[in-house]
């Protein structure tokens, strides 16, 4: 039988244990744009943006600091360094002039976390129903999905490194939930 006395944690412990198997830190600000468009506007946007907009569902295309994430059949999230504002949105608007589209700056809508380490997928699956097996969700895959009650945009950068974007009003909720997950994983290190 488990030695409960040594595993017991106070309900008021505020700091979750640090772990090299699971590293969570906040992503800095970046320029984020949501583009709703259909061809030929998507082709023009891709040419102006750098990486062409991925046509395959749930895939991201990267080029240097710029990335285009497929969110829906006519919807992409464009991510670039914050210093490219306002030049990049203006360049995209010029490229899209006359073509039906909606380009919205959502840089300040979302907060982001990087979740990395061998336990990253296990930690995400504590709240997210997606199959995060590398075969089903390989590096470069992205999806809008749920983490517990929070809608997130999940992007797998490497086998053990994820970016998670969510509305900034959910930041406290996400942070608390992930702290709970960290405590859980620390108590059961053999999981996953």
């Amino acid at each position: 039988m488990a030695d409960l006395a040594s595993l017991r944690a106070s309900a008021f412990d505020s700091q979750p244990p640090d772990s090299t198997a699971l590293r969570i830190h906040a992503l800095g600000p970046s320029l984020r744009l949501v583009l709703r468009a259909k061809a030929p506007a998507t082709v023009a946007a891709g040419a102006a943006f750098g990486p062409a907009l991925p046509e395959q569902a749930c895939r991201a295309a990267e080029n240097g600091m710029r990335a285009a994430l497929w969110l829906g059949p006519d919807e992409w999230l464009l991510i670039a360094s914050e210093s490219e504002s306002p030049a990049l949105p203006a360049a995209l608007e010029r490229a899209l002039a006359g073509k039906p589209h909606a380009l919205v700056d959502v840089s300040h809508r979302d907060a982001g976390l990087e979740i990395a380490g061998p336990m990253a997928a296990t930690a995400l699956n504590a709240g997210c129903p997606l199959d995060l097996d590398p075969e089903a969700f390989p590096p470069g895959a992205c999806a809008r999905t749920l983490f517990a009650k929070c809608e997130i945009t999940l992007w797998r950068r490497d086998a053990a490194r994820f970016h998670v974007l969510f509305a900034r009003s959910f930041a406290a909720y996400m942070s608390d939930y992930l702290d709970e997950v960290r405590r859980e994983l620390a108590a059961a290190p053999e999981a996953g």
């Binding site: 749930c58 829906g72 129903p129 997606l130 999806a143 809008r144 749920l146």
Partner: protein, 97 residues
């Protein structure tokens, strides 16, 4: 966990989706009269068995699509994009069970 096969982005968990009522309801013309409008607004088939319905991948790609679902077993027989005809083979196979 029930997986629903979104025709736009593949199989995802049921909680990402929202039910959006019966599919293929044709809106009557403004001159159609009260009877046709009452029928359109308030009356649904509510079948026990195969049902064509609209679903939205709310927490995913955000798109509406149609699904053939068995209301008895909750089994999704087929999903297809709006405007497309339901896959006849799937519908027939389910009726034959």
């Amino acid at each position: 966990m029930l997986l629903i096969d979104c025709p736009f982005c593949g199989a995802h968990a049921e909680i990402e989706f929202r039910y959006a009522g019966e599919a293929d309801l044709a809106r009557p013309s403004a001159a159609a009269g009260d009877g046709a409008w009452i029928e359109f607004l308030y009356f649904r088939r509510n079948p026990m068995g195969l049902h064509a319905e609209r679903w939205r991948h709310t927490h995913g790609c955000g798109r509406f699509f149609n699904a053939l679902r068995d209301t008895v077993s909750d089994r999704f027989v087929a999903t297809y994009k709006p405007g497309e005809a339901p896959p006849a083979a799937a519908a027939a196979a389910d009726h034959d069970r």
